[in-house]
Symmetry: D2
Amino acid sequence: MVTGVQTTDATETGTETVTVSVVGATGFTGGELLRLLAGHPKFDIQQATSRSAAGKSVGSKHPPLRGSGLRFTDPGDLESVDVLFVATPHGVSMDRIDEFFEIADTVVDLSADFRLDSEGQYDEWYDGHTSPEYLEQAEYALPEINRENLAGADLIAGGGCNATATILGLYPLFEHDVLAGGEQIVVDVKVGSSEGGAGGGEASSHPERSGIVRPYAPTGHRHEAEIEQFLGTSVAFTCHAVDMVRGASATAHVFPTGPVSKADLWGAYRESYEDEPFVRLAGGGSGVYRYPEPKAVAGTNYGDVGFELDPSNKRVVVFSAIDNMMKGSAGQAVHAANVALGFEETAGLEFAGLHPVGAP
Amino acid sequence: MVTGVQTTDATETGTETVTVSVVGATGFTGGELLRLLAGHPKFDIQQATSRSAAGKSVGSKHPPLRGSGLRFTDPGDLESVDVLFVATPHGVSMDRIDEFFEIADTVVDLSADFRLDSEGQYDEWYDGHTSPEYLEQAEYALPEINRENLAGADLIAGGGCNATATILGLYPLFEHDVLAGGEQIVVDVKVGSSEGGAGGGEASSHPERSGIVRPYAPTGHRHEAEIEQFLGTSVAFTCHAVDMVRGASATAHVFPTGPVSKADLWGAYRESYEDEPFVRLAGGGSGVYRYPEPKAVAGTNYGDVGFELDPSNKRVVVFSAIDNMMKGSAGQAVHAANVALGFEETAGLEFAGLHPVGAP
Amino acid sequence: MVTGVQTTDATETGTETVTVSVVGATGFTGGELLRLLAGHPKFDIQQATSRSAAGKSVGSKHPPLRGSGLRFTDPGDLESVDVLFVATPHGVSMDRIDEFFEIADTVVDLSADFRLDSEGQYDEWYDGHTSPEYLEQAEYALPEINRENLAGADLIAGGGCNATATILGLYPLFEHDVLAGGEQIVVDVKVGSSEGGAGGGEASSHPERSGIVRPYAPTGHRHEAEIEQFLGTSVAFTCHAVDMVRGASATAHVFPTGPVSKADLWGAYRESYEDEPFVRLAGGGSGVYRYPEPKAVAGTNYGDVGFELDPSNKRVVVFSAIDNMMKGSAGQAVHAANVALGFEETAGLEFAGLHPVGAP
Amino acid sequence: MVTGVQTTDATETGTETVTVSVVGATGFTGGELLRLLAGHPKFDIQQATSRSAAGKSVGSKHPPLRGSGLRFTDPGDLESVDVLFVATPHGVSMDRIDEFFEIADTVVDLSADFRLDSEGQYDEWYDGHTSPEYLEQAEYALPEINRENLAGADLIAGGGCNATATILGLYPLFEHDVLAGGEQIVVDVKVGSSEGGAGGGEASSHPERSGIVRPYAPTGHRHEAEIEQFLGTSVAFTCHAVDMVRGASATAHVFPTGPVSKADLWGAYRESYEDEPFVRLAGGGSGVYRYPEPKAVAGTNYGDVGFELDPSNKRVVVFSAIDNMMKGSAGQAVHAANVALGFEETAGLEFAGLHPVGAP
């Protein structure tokens, strides 16, 4: 126990719990949701659905749930709950959203189905949308940029992991008008293999996936849409797969069109994030971990952000690192649900990581 | 929240906390102790000593402690506390033990200095002992085999990580007299790089240490002494370094001199461990994680144990896996302190691991 | 160029080449065979068959073959050649062996189909044999134990990778009667992910396979049959998957029933291997690589062997390391073919490895 | 043997060899030089110097040299040779260059000491230069951009690994005037741990270095100087350390100021590289390895180059991958020496890599 470290006091917001189920619980994201909800003082897990593993022990799929006694339920047997977390592939939620709201008061969807504001964007970046009437109602799950709207929200749309890392890194520059506008921005992202989900084919097999620096989605990554929606600017985005399981690291190369000083930058980042429970500034300093690194946030809901000014190239280099399974999906969803339901923001998300840790 | 999952209720054993300091806090083990104590409802951290980093932020060395506000203290400035955890190299505690007891009522030492029962063993396996008068008083920190003696103990000696993995695997065979005696036992252990501690030389550098299966201490490993002390039998022990950071996996090949059935084995393991909060039996079953694996316990205080009978070779193969930084050192120490001080056994040790996770 | 390093002199055994094709060339072993044959001065590659990739460039599957211009051929279009290397799954060769001998004078089969001496062994360890009449004719591909019979052989049976590592480690003890007989022998093997072949399911996916120490085939591994056939003794065999792609490391724990000295051991190993071009003794010494390690043989056809005497446990610990794709399959097959066809033994196998190298 | 695959014919350029020694042979680069020279048909190794390991076996440090019989020589005992390869830290060669030319006719220096054209650049990017009179005479070792000047050169300056990867990727755009000028160019590089050399401190230790995506030299990397010297334009350069041992992957994000078509790009890259023995174009296509990846060139002297056009961001993304120990240092040096001395360009550099391979 240390002063300043967040701990969850179950009594603080009352002892009543809300019931919760997870749809699509065999995947990595579903498993992480269950893990977080199982350790959360306010959620009472009812069901975890899986078409392929119905009846089997949840712990046989997700080792951290071994002691939970939970078994997968057939999706057809889903019962009413207060809150429903949905971790199905893109396209499923938009088809079943009416059904979900018959079952639950609050729906937290972790797919891309409700991230974008308009049907037009789904036409451009995805294969259209089958329930566009819900788009306006949906609230993006990132409290750092959308806290006010999340309070009391009944449809929450989890952000994309790479978009989350990028937005966290760049947001202060735009929130505080550090940039004059019209900047060239390159975002070069490095991600772990869990982003590809469970299973996967030849390219995801250990012999082929180990030790790589592999360009994937070199151009036209769908997360560009989210980034542009929230920052109001386009970014040139490229993603590389590297040898880790968890983690996304975004390096943004920004070329300001006007003058920017180091003081401007520190001012903006401090103002945006100094009260945020899950964003830490890591810029320079001493020791091994001087800049944001996925290892230093592995297993946690932290987003670490740092930057350097490169005067000779008139460039700002912004580094951000998240655990794609946490701040990039399951942790972000629980954080947003905490905000929506009026719980302590950090409830269930206190884990601060390990040191040392390998390729997390 | 799930029925059956341990959660710590700070009110259960009263709300008073005890003061605690960590000596030798720059190393990996010291950092993990601080991390666990910082999240523990009953311990109130006072000081973390470091000769080399006195005055620096603890978080600059150990990323999980970034939010703690703690700074390293010079060892000469150590103040009185209720409990002192000592994570110094072997040989330091035996020289300073009198001083430690002037400062604290309870000393938990994580080195090898008080693990063995007699001065003779230190003469044989180490370089002798400078405070042999404390050996009788010291209690081995593994509650699974020493819970009764740990209650109220004032000098606790943390077990060696490889010894812990081995003892957890083999103990039920001896506790329940499954073996007739005189068995040949081979223990082949695979360990991660954190066992070598921070720093390290050429052999521990990333280019030379990556991807290895490296025999080290092929014979004569000092942990043999502990194993023999607690099991009452000798084992032929060999250790290999493999490519992970955390984790120790022990495979024991046991050749019973009398008949042993699968039912005998299940009976013994269930009886020894069914009420243990930190030992899980993992034997066969379905899914990817059918046997004990370091990955499945990474970051947790669990020891997973499983076995197979090999009738054609008249052999029992026992697998056990721990996180060497947790069940193999810092977690075991906190567990033992919980027992000694009458706290909830699982307090501060609830983390159940991550899935998926890379080379933890 | 250094005195003592083997180089291939194409003129030494004449400049004529023999024609060769590889059946089953999409898999890892088939790809490695093609790579070795493409760099071999005496083999002239005609065809590389693949049912799934017929017509496609071999380089699109196997990057080292990018410059070769080779394309996969449909297995039905296989033409006559001097030598046929077969890298199909177990069970295929035994069904097609007559057909293979219509096409080629010499068949080198890398599956398990002709490794064992008798039909009875296939009934016991596999699912029987459909062409048992070829078993007597087949010669085991390991020149270190079978060089004389390989000369002029027309059916060569590649050894299993784990069996090869084990046999290389233990053979001198039996060849030179170091052991009195009736010894207890435990063999604990650690292997890389390429042993599972291309593709693979969930357990082989990068997120689940990274950083593991996973018991697989804890008992009853089929390679026990080969080991017993060549050593004349049973071994208690257990295999673990660890985080590397290439490599097999076998640690044999041997308990001699009579007295054995270090001089006996060195004598036996030197006598067996001092003239072998592909076996190196690595026992103790200084530096980082003191014992056999898969890293130190990665990409090479070397088998490194070392040992330690453990007097207090009356044990000999033998370490051996190979690259499972080379000495454990494709390299062994080319070596055996060199012997069978009277070529320079080291032809095409001169690569001596890299330093540093990661998880090879 | 396959038509089209380069093989070295020792007789082609005559059978006489030249004598060669390596100064600074304990480091990774020195070891790789020795390995390549030992397998080269035209070089006859005389000495390998090492201050710290004089008298010891070269194989004890570099496993691939185990069979060579070579021993390290004290630097003070260096004797006359035809060619001297120097692999000492930056700053040593500039102090000893006169001495080197007393010993050898040709000096190939792998440090940064003679890479830049003018003393002013050394004042700006390094700590000045002690032998600036040699700068004009020195020829940059990359034959792809400097072949004509390398022929007959007596002082060859090996390029920096990150600069080499970057230059290979961008050179065709500049050689063939694909760009109109004034482009914004970001180069985001990912490198393995061997770039840090042998030894290394805490940040390079396995527990801290595993699984990372770590920004290092976020701005102001010295290789910017070389890149700008050869491309005639500035680049905004940032480097990340990732979890592999060998390899450098450069992703260049280029924003053309005028129109550029895919045909323009293919035209330029084909014209620059279609006759180059060590550059392969990898752009799109099918299979797992569609773009340049360090894994696919590990152990080889290849530089793989590919690109994509990103019309919506008016960007060209160029990917290039090399093995930093080969094309990025030792291999490049041997290639350059082959050109300088009139040997077959590919002599000693035929190794085409492995598949599968882990973190190389």
